[in-house]
Symmetry: C2
Subunit: 434 residues, 2 copies
């Protein structure tokens, strides 16, 4: 991969930065400076960071340059969602309750990132406890609009060229939603794929890491880094893929203009692939309810300490929403919902007998005005509860010129196929009309 | 339940203490004092605690007595394994690397315990990172012998009447083994059952909490507390149960004297039940290998920070054992093992069509001399990877008079049946000869 010399360093992808740093064509320090300059210019408006220490980042960059220039993420600045522990910056979970909280070690995913050559540039804003109550971040494409949540700062910073790549998490749609609203790639792994040591638990049955980036190659690369394995190049799809177009039971929640764009994308993909409208089994409509009760039941136990000691510092949104749900949910209902979800996970396997990937909406439409960080939650609940890996591609634009993503999903643990299909689909869609 | 007035307070079960405190027949302070007296007398030899603060515990006890005497664990002193966060005592994971580590909040399981009326008496010794390298604890029945690991201090403290009940965890056999070696009840829940927020992750695919207690009723009670639900009384088994006696592929690892005792227990149970020798499918023999690679792969990622920053402070045992395994294991092998384990989890379901519970050995025999805290790991690996709930009953004694447990296992999420069957089996076996 050649460095595009005309491209400002802060606009390069992570893969491009790492290649340039390894080849000695730039330094980590130069890249970090470029990102810090962009942040200095834009952060007052975008407010993507909950904590940032430019001097410390530059010191780390110089230390990296001094000791060599190796690693799959050589010299790459990363952003880390504020629910993921770092030894050098506070991790406050988006709540005043944990203001000043400072872990003494890196989360597993952060340590693996640094091992690969990455430099932590800052902590990115999360909604309160990665739940609904919004943080301060604004959408870089239109400051009057939400960036989406809960990985708000990660998506906004990557979209705004403050960082090439950032860590998020997902319990409902916390990576896919903000990536779609901010016009970047977002990836939610197969459930269970990565170690979550040092990552705030929300709902252990569905929590995963998430990655936000400006290229599919970056997502594939970073996913392998986070697995602690040798990165593999993106695969190629040799034959025309078979795509299941699932509007899902929540199609009516998608705005008409966005519906038309998603259907347009499906039609364009059909030029080089088989695209078939597929309806999920009728009872899958209940998966959203199952997600609601499972995550609420778990959330209300996960945060038992905060509930008992800091009830008044929890937002009304959270107290009257997920916590009220969780405290009212019986164990019998919780178990019933878990068993239903497990059945659906088995049942969805039939789809991979006929199809390579699923195409589905990634958002209700453009990022809404104001700060409803969690717009469109039902679009994500089912997929997250099914534990399927998913990626959103920034290929559509709405009537206001704001980005809209589309989701591609694959079978559990089939991320390599997912990325290869996503790469093919993206090339096809990005070249067409928006 | 009547308080046995002749029984010293530190020898009561958790259920007995809670009933007495609620009825005003004793106070939390009196119970805590009795436990502290026992600890003062015995701790120099047993060394069950990694951290204890008697004044703080007494203050908490008096505060509890002052504000009322309610809760399912009203006034019950608990021990908390040193990999579980507490806001008032350090949590050091059994390693010098994290000496002085002090969380600012309680783990979810600790907060739920306190909400139910429990008072944290101290942190109990774990092996290094809840892995093989032993802590300082000794078996209270014979100080020359291991208490078993990794929940060494929890089992020893409960067995020695320092505490009625304690929290442990299990990734291999870390609750069942020390409970068997120390002669107390130990319970490993269905995988996924409890929130692990604030509990050190080891291998996320198999980690669970664990409970060590001196009665089955206490385990059933505490399990519900940890789920954050209203405790249910122990159920009754109306008809003679159907028991699958699984010697398992690892039967040869069980010492001949212990084999004879376990077989004797099976025979005695057959007096009131159907007990049938059942061989597991042949390929289940590979589950131990799967457990080894899955947990090692994950462990080596979970502790990426410690590996990169404190390699020399990690024991040789861990570096040359699980970490070396984990670093040599390919991702392809890891995934293959995960898929095999998932298949076996489905396959084992057939057993519940014919049987209510499984009876299996809980240890290789008596606790060995010296400190091989992890003796008999293969006996636990398969069951843990199958995600089945299990309880060990302290019903046998070896040639040296040391305790030996037997394991009962049930289908996933069928803990209520498991406890009811365990209660019945225990009554039958405890009344017979040892």
């Amino acid at each position: 991969m050649d460095l595009k010399l005309e491209t400002p360093l802060n606009e390069l992808t992570a893969s491009e930065i790492a290649a340039a740093v390894r080849a000695g064509r730039t330094t980590c320090e130069a890249v970090v400076r470029a990102c810090l300059d962009r942040i200095a210019a834009r952060e007052p408006e975008v407010q993507a960071f909950s904590a940032i220490d430019p001097d410390r980042a530059l010191t780390a960059a110089r230390a990296f340059d001094a000791k060599g220039n190796r690693g799959p993420l050589a010299g790459v600045p990363i952003g880390v969602k504020d629910i993921i522990d770092t030894e050098d910056l506070p991790t406050e979970w988006g709540t005043p309750i944990h203001r000043g909280r400072h872990a003494r070690r890196d989360a597993a995913c952060v340590a693996l990132s640094r091992r690969a050559g990455a430099v932590v540039l800052g902590k990115t804003v999360t909604t309160e406890f990665a739940n609904l109550h919004p943080g301060k971040t604004r959408n870089p494409h239109d400051l009057a609009r939400t960036p989406g949540g809960s990985s708000s700062g990660s998506a906004a910073a990557v979209a705004d060229f403050m960082l090439p790549i950032a860590l998020g998490t997902q319990t409902t749609g916390s990576t896919i939603r903000p990536a779609s609203f901010c016009g970047v790639f977002g990836y939610r792994p197969t459930y269970g794929e990565h170690r979550l040591h040092g990552v705030m638990e929300a709902s252990g049955s569905v929590d995963t890491l998430g990655i936000v980036a400006r290229s599919i190659a970056d997502i594939a690369l970073y996913r392998d880094v986070l697995l602690g394995i040798e990165p593999q190049p993106l695969g190629l799809i040799e034959r025309p893929p078979s795509i299941a177009f699932c509007r899902t039971h929540n199609w009516d929640l998608v705005e008409p203009a966005a519906q038309a764009r998603v259907e347009g994308a499906a039609q364009r993909l059909a030029a080089g692939a088989s695209v078939v409208d597929v309806a999920l089994p009728a009872d899958f409509a209940h998966l959203n309810e199952a997600h609601r009760w499972i995550t609420s039941f778990e959330f209300a136990r996960t945060f038992a300490w905060e509930i008992d000691h800091h009830w008044n510092d929890i937002s009304e949104t959270l107290r009257q929403g997920r916590l009220a749900d969780g405290m009212s949910c019986s164990f019998e209902r919780y178990v019933e919902m878990q068993e239903f979800a497990a059945q659906c996970r088995e049942q969805v396997e039939w789809i991979w007998e006929d199809f390579d990937i699923i195409l589905a909406p990634a958002a209700i439409g453009e990022a809404p005005l104001g700060m409803p960080a969690f717009a469109g939650a039902p679009l994500y609940m089912m997929w997250t509860l099914l534990h399927l890996p998913t990626i959103t591609l920034p290929v559509l634009k709405g009537d206001n010129g704001m980005p809209i993503g589309i989701q591609l999903l694959a079978g559990r643990r089939r991320e390599r196929e997912l990325f290869a299909h996503a790469d093919r689909a993206y090339r096809q869609l990005a070249n067409g009309e928006q």
